[in-house]
Symmetry: C2
Amino acid sequence: MKYFPKDKKALMMAALGRIPSDLAITNANIVNTFTGEIYKANVFIYDGFIAHVETEDFENINAKEIVDAKGSFLTPGFIDAHVHIESSMMIPRNFAKAVLPHGTTMVITDPHEIANVYGIRAVEYMNAQTKDLPMKMYIDIPSCVPSVPGLENSGASFVAEDIKTMLSLSNVIGLAEVMDFIGVMNADKRMMDILKVFEEDGRYIQGHAPGLIGRGLSSYRIGGPTTCHESRKSWEVKPKMRTGMYVDARSSSISKNINEIVKGLDGIKFYDRLTFCTDDREVDEIIENGHMNDVLREATRCGLDVITAIKSCTLNAAQAAKLENIGAIAPGYVADMLIIPSLEDLKPSHVFTDGKLVAKDGILLANIPSIDFDLEKDLSVNAPDFTVENFRLKAPKANKVKVNILEYGSLNLSSTVLSQLELPVKDGYVDISGDDSLQFAAIINRYGNGTYTVGIVKNFSKIDVAWGSTVSHDSHNISITYKNPEDALAVYNHFKQNGGGQALAENGQIIASLNLNVGGLMSNKPVDELSKEVKAMKKALKDCGVDLTNPLLRIVTLALPVIPDVKYSDMGLIDVIKQEFIPIFVED
Amino acid sequence: MKYFPKDKKALMMAALGRIPSDLAITNANIVNTFTGEIYKANVFIYDGFIAHVETEDFENINAKEIVDAKGSFLTPGFIDAHVHIESSMMIPRNFAKAVLPHGTTMVITDPHEIANVYGIRAVEYMNAQTKDLPMKMYIDIPSCVPSVPGLENSGASFVAEDIKTMLSLSNVIGLAEVMDFIGVMNADKRMMDILKVFEEDGRYIQGHAPGLIGRGLSSYRIGGPTTCHESRKSWEVKPKMRTGMYVDARSSSISKNINEIVKGLDGIKFYDRLTFCTDDREVDEIIENGHMNDVLREATRCGLDVITAIKSCTLNAAQAAKLENIGAIAPGYVADMLIIPSLEDLKPSHVFTDGKLVAKDGILLANIPSIDFDLEKDLSVNAPDFTVENFRLKAPKANKVKVNILEYGSLNLSSTVLSQLELPVKDGYVDISGDDSLQFAAIINRYGNGTYTVGIVKNFSKIDVAWGSTVSHDSHNISITYKNPEDALAVYNHFKQNGGGQALAENGQIIASLNLNVGGLMSNKPVDELSKEVKAMKKALKDCGVDLTNPLLRIVTLALPVIPDVKYSDMGLIDVIKQEFIPIFVED
């Protein structure tokens, strides 16, 4: 896609200096993403585009307004190559308010989460949210709704025809992370049909291929995806880049992959295929640490040269998304730019989008008016009436039973293993009271299907209170971990009444909650208010004994059936690699 | 543009090793154009595409045929980013025979020369020539026919509507070098209309901007062109690359710019915007020295790292032309590849296109059948009957006259300067017999217009015989330099009878000639035969005293009105910079 100025001839006349530019940024040290040089220049902007970059004549400044960069660096605006805005718990318009002051001027968002709740209507809602925003917010159409068909039930199911209808939405630029990498690799019909829509249309296809190398990666690449933000280990980096895949280095609130990826770049000569993303970042982390600038800081701390990091986060990201004239400070390019006093702390003093100053010294200047959306008024939880009985795990035998359980390894990773334990039976139900490392896990469909699973999880939060969430990747059913079925029921009923979010219950009573009124995933409250509520919820979790980094984004991985080895869904316990169900009870 | 396999699923199954590949190239040292690494691998090819690159398991080779690379390097096929095939004097099918053994597997050709002779019909002819070729021969539609409207008459004149009709030709991928850089820079309507067709269509636009930097370059870039093969001086390189322009380093038979461009890269960190081209290379030079491999050798001799050179000549060139999956050895990429025993001499032992071995050890293996074309039977010279009188320069005054003349500086450059000389008049005609550095120059329209110019040229060939050519960029009118009008008439009449080419005449008789029967530009004779004739013509020129490198391509610059400072056309003497006529005689 190319950005077109309203009046190209006028822009050319501004380049020639025959008519005044709207703005001149003088005395800047340009970071040139084409050549990797830094040099002194005055930059002229007209009608939202860069008209000219002057490196010789610093005297003649034919512009209506001048901003003196005072020797600071001038870089293109930063691009988040892959983000689920829902994970910030902010609605997109509020998300824009939060990230712009940090210098993120473009995000490519995958509304996969809310699409699993509300289907096509959700994607239309997310697209409508971008209206008149002072930043570029593009949408990749969710490719895998649900993520693993046949193994989970979500609120929607997209086939190729559905995806075709969404192509006409104004801000759609690609197909979002193709998570069903096994399906693609094997050339399964459902995924091939979806990929074909995009191949014929010419827009790009985002990938998702954790740990995939060798022949499987070759097949996946031929299938169509051109990017991957799921590289966690240094050994994945080169095999992916060698295939021409963009390795999209991620620093989310729960997956910090930058260090491993920078390690994996060792011995590589060209960096054209490196980009950066946040994937999932919480509101409080964005406000306190920053956004893409924080990711780049991390990359440079890990040893990546800052100019390469900036190129990756600007020009490379634009190229990966097939955007032609953005991501560089050059004539004819969109004037999304940052004045950055220090390339070490990467905090922009000025943020320009389309040539307009939208944030200064960390403060948003642009006005982002609220819009009234019907979808935000809906109650997203549609689940049956349950009793305590529904949350108990009935044993098939009288004394002892052998149970397949989902075991977390490292507390800060979403990958898990399958383990088996022999557990006592009390009054006909499995008894986990004797083992502090165990909790029950219930996954309950919230889209009217009536399906639900109760199983056991090991080494998760290890707390006694019930903890529930309607944020629960990728189907966003209700996930609850608990020791006591009464507490689980309290959480469940809370969601049925309040429409979702997160909640804690003890002795059958709610003791803390975070209300996410938009699809049970986001809140339309003002950013600061939401941030406070999120912090309060985190504190409540900590007080209960949840000693995890970014705890809110932990419970959401319990039912994430695209991350190996095992996960729960509303339909049962899933072997992620084999893509099949594992019985809760091991038969003798 | 993306290349699609006939059966994507089958290609994926070959990648997975579930069905046999057509070909395996084993024991190769891959030059990876994404990462810049060289590493050992077996490459599997299926249905013309690379299915898989295996770097671990060297034992299991599930393929119908195996080629052992014996540790040689394996690179993508070389791409000539900009060439006028007409300048080789070979018709395209013969050109393919000549360049393939040297490893050039793709050329992007601008049929600008023959288009100036035959218009749309010529572009259709060039497109039809590409039928079933075992190499990729793409066409950029000539943008400037004629190059400088109003200042010359050629055989055709393209406006936006004409160009639109050619977009549907099978092998058209872009708009060819936009030579009217002054017109673009000033946003003149004719050029803006043509550029708009391509902007809306999405195909790329080749530039041509000799010495253009600063504000003019900014305006030109905004206008649309994304490449430039006209950088002659090191100081042009960075300003162009900084704008994101692809600097297309040229080594033609007459313009050797590689050394200056490599010098100009000093201090640049990223090389994404570097490509290579030949522009104009003669048949005998191609046969003796090579093609793109010769250009790359030159680049490495000048100090460019060979991996960067190879990337520039493959992946970068493909990207510049918006070709998605070619230019790399990676799954899903087109299997155009070279086995190269030495990265110093860069002579491929094996050339594969679409996975098939098409040349080996410098010998073409692929069959390229001849096709009968009506256009090749036409006589391209349509000019009036002239007498000796037409070739004399009548003086406006009796004794002495002051004349504006075109003066060559370096004999090996096509740039010129304007100078003025006071010359004697004899019998009413300007007399140049007393100055060995002077010759007459006649440019005669050969498309039925009846227009012609006679002027004086200084420091050109300095020979006494008449030398004429119907190859005469860009309008390809008849150019003749001479001392003696009788000799000029002999050359002229020879072309009228034989349809063009080059010829020498002395004492009113033709003493040597090269017949170019296709549009007066190319010959459809077999490559070896043509090469011999070209050499014979060069020898005849040398015997006459023309001491120039690549003499055949010298006379063709006499009427090239896009190269400063001054040139002749059939309409007069032209100030190239001001785009206006200069009178032959200086008024007192």
